[in-house]
Symmetry: C2
Subunit: 312 residues, 2 copies
């Protein structure tokens, strides 16, 4: 079944010399330093749980969501460090979804980012519970550590409520599993819906949270939401294209594995050329969405172009 | 391994004629009517997910948490219906924990409240995802539907953050699983810690949320927190006592099953008489905690006495 954007493949600095490294790598370095400091508990009886959580959250990845959140905050005039607690909350929720997706009852993956998955290393019960624990810890980061007015912080929680429940991540994974085996026979509407629910909603929230905490207005929030939805869509389509065309070596996993597993993919539904056109269109819409934003959106533009052209 | 207070056994109206039915049953009826109206999504592709969620949340139970939340709100002068969204959020989080606890990798239970568990009826993946989805939906109930100032509503989320993460429900379940097989050899401190994290924290939050939303002060919040912690402890100890002494018929499950499974229980650690004394002490402390509260605490007192003496 389809995957979330997990950074397992095509990390920016390994794929393209034209990657927008400077500002993104700066956000990323700050983010990595921040999460390195998260311990959750020093209770000896919880040592293994904390170890499992740190194992999964410190295991790399592109960190698209938190760095997007930081960049959007900066576009609207906030110091990117301001949003670190909420940006981290989003990444921890993403991490929890990856751990649960990997479980034997779901995708049954033994490896992620070249290392054993959490349930392979710590057992299945720990995989379930480490994921569950991340949700509570995400809320603690937001409600205890996030600066901002109560209205703003509450709005951050409301964002994540919508993007993680039935009409977000969890519902998207259900639909994705339902479609596995259908492959190219999936209808375009269902395919888009799976993507929007499963990954689009949380990516949109990442951008929106950056805007909310920076004090951006409704219109500006809507603009970056639109940008982020299209960015996430573009990322997913390019992922499908790369999966269908790249060699195993370039991809870090079996090329063509989506087709083998009967996943509903954009290549399966639109064909290779059609999928590339869809990716172009999504990137174009992402850039267009930024046109109304009053601020330096060059970093966001770079990211959209990078996402469209990575791996080539 | 130990269980949460799930209402599988000893529903008030089936056990004792002295149960404080009137006000509690009124809260409960209002609560049941409220959750009956929760649909989450009308998207046909999510029909099974919604069905699985409704199957588990409408499957009965004593509803200790939401009715406690409502009663506490009333003690501090609020209309109990005011707190329904947050009270429901607590119950949905409790429901999600039960679904995950029942999974094959955890307690591997096929039945709950006399019906197949969610994963037995809908498959293991759906069990994991229905649980996950409940968390997001709980947050939507609070952040979209709960009346109150932003400060109050944010405080409700903060409460749940603390009682569900590493230092709450998830961490408690990890410790409980670690102790399974240890049985009577568990040390009292660990036993109390398991209970506090796994069930005590969320029951405390139920009471505290009622107080927060009713506008009670810090001292009043502290008093009902103390009450709820002792109430939850008393409930757990009595549960262990009943498990060790009741017949299968009275209990609705195998009597003595805790001992068979090597669970860490209060009877195992303190012996039968010692456990009864601990239960008395907890009930007494619960009542004492109410002594500083300026309001009609008779309903809370009734509940403490009922919890202590149920099943006799």
């Amino acid at each position: 079944m389809g995957k979330r954007l997990d950074g397992a493949r095509n990390a920016p600095n390994s794929v393209s010399r034209s990657a927008p490294r400077s500002r993104w790598e700066e956000h990323r370095a700050r983010f990595e330093a921040y999460i390195e400091g998260l311990v959750f508990s020093e209770e000896p009886r919880l040592e293994t749980l904390v170890e499992a959580m740190r194992y999964s959250m410190l295991g790399g990845g592109k960190r698209v969501r938190p760095t997007l959140c930081m960049e959007v905050a900066e576009v609207f005039g906030a110091e990117p460090g301001l949003v670190l607690p909420s940006a981290t909350a989003v990444e921890l929720i993403h991490t929890y979804s990856l751990i649960h997706d990997d479980l034997p009852a779901m995708d049954d993956d033994d490896f992620r980012r070249g290392r054993p998955t959490v349930h392979k290393k710590y057992g299945e019960a720990m995989g379930i519970l480490a994921g569950d624990a991340f949700f509570g810890e995400s809320l603690t980061l937001i409600t205890v550590h996030q600066e901002g007015s109560p209205e703003q912080v509450l709005e951050v929680v409301r964002e994540l409520a919508g993007s993680t429940g039935v009409n977000g991540m969890a519902g998207g994974q259900v639909m994705d599993m339902d479609q596995t085996g259908v492959g190219g026979a999936a209808d375009p509407e269902t395919l888009h819906m799976i993507h929007n629910y499963k990954t689009g909603a949380l990516i949109k929230s990442s951008a929106r949270i950056g805007a909310i905490l920076a004090g951006a207005g409704e219109e500006e929030q809507a603009a970056v939401s639109e940008y982020a939805m299209e960015l996430g869509l573009c990322f997913q389509i390019v992922d499908d294209v790369l999966n269908a065309t790249s060699t195993r070596e370039a991809l870090g996993k079996s090329a063509g594995s989506d087709a083998e597993q009967g996943k509903a993919t954009f290549v399966g539904v639109y064909g290779l050329d059609g999928a590339k056109r869809e990716a172009d269109e999504a990137a174009e819409k992402a850039l267009q969405a930024l046109s109304t934003v009053d601020g330096d959106t060059s970093g966001l533009e770079e990211l959209a172009l990078f996402v469209r052209h990575r791996g080539h």
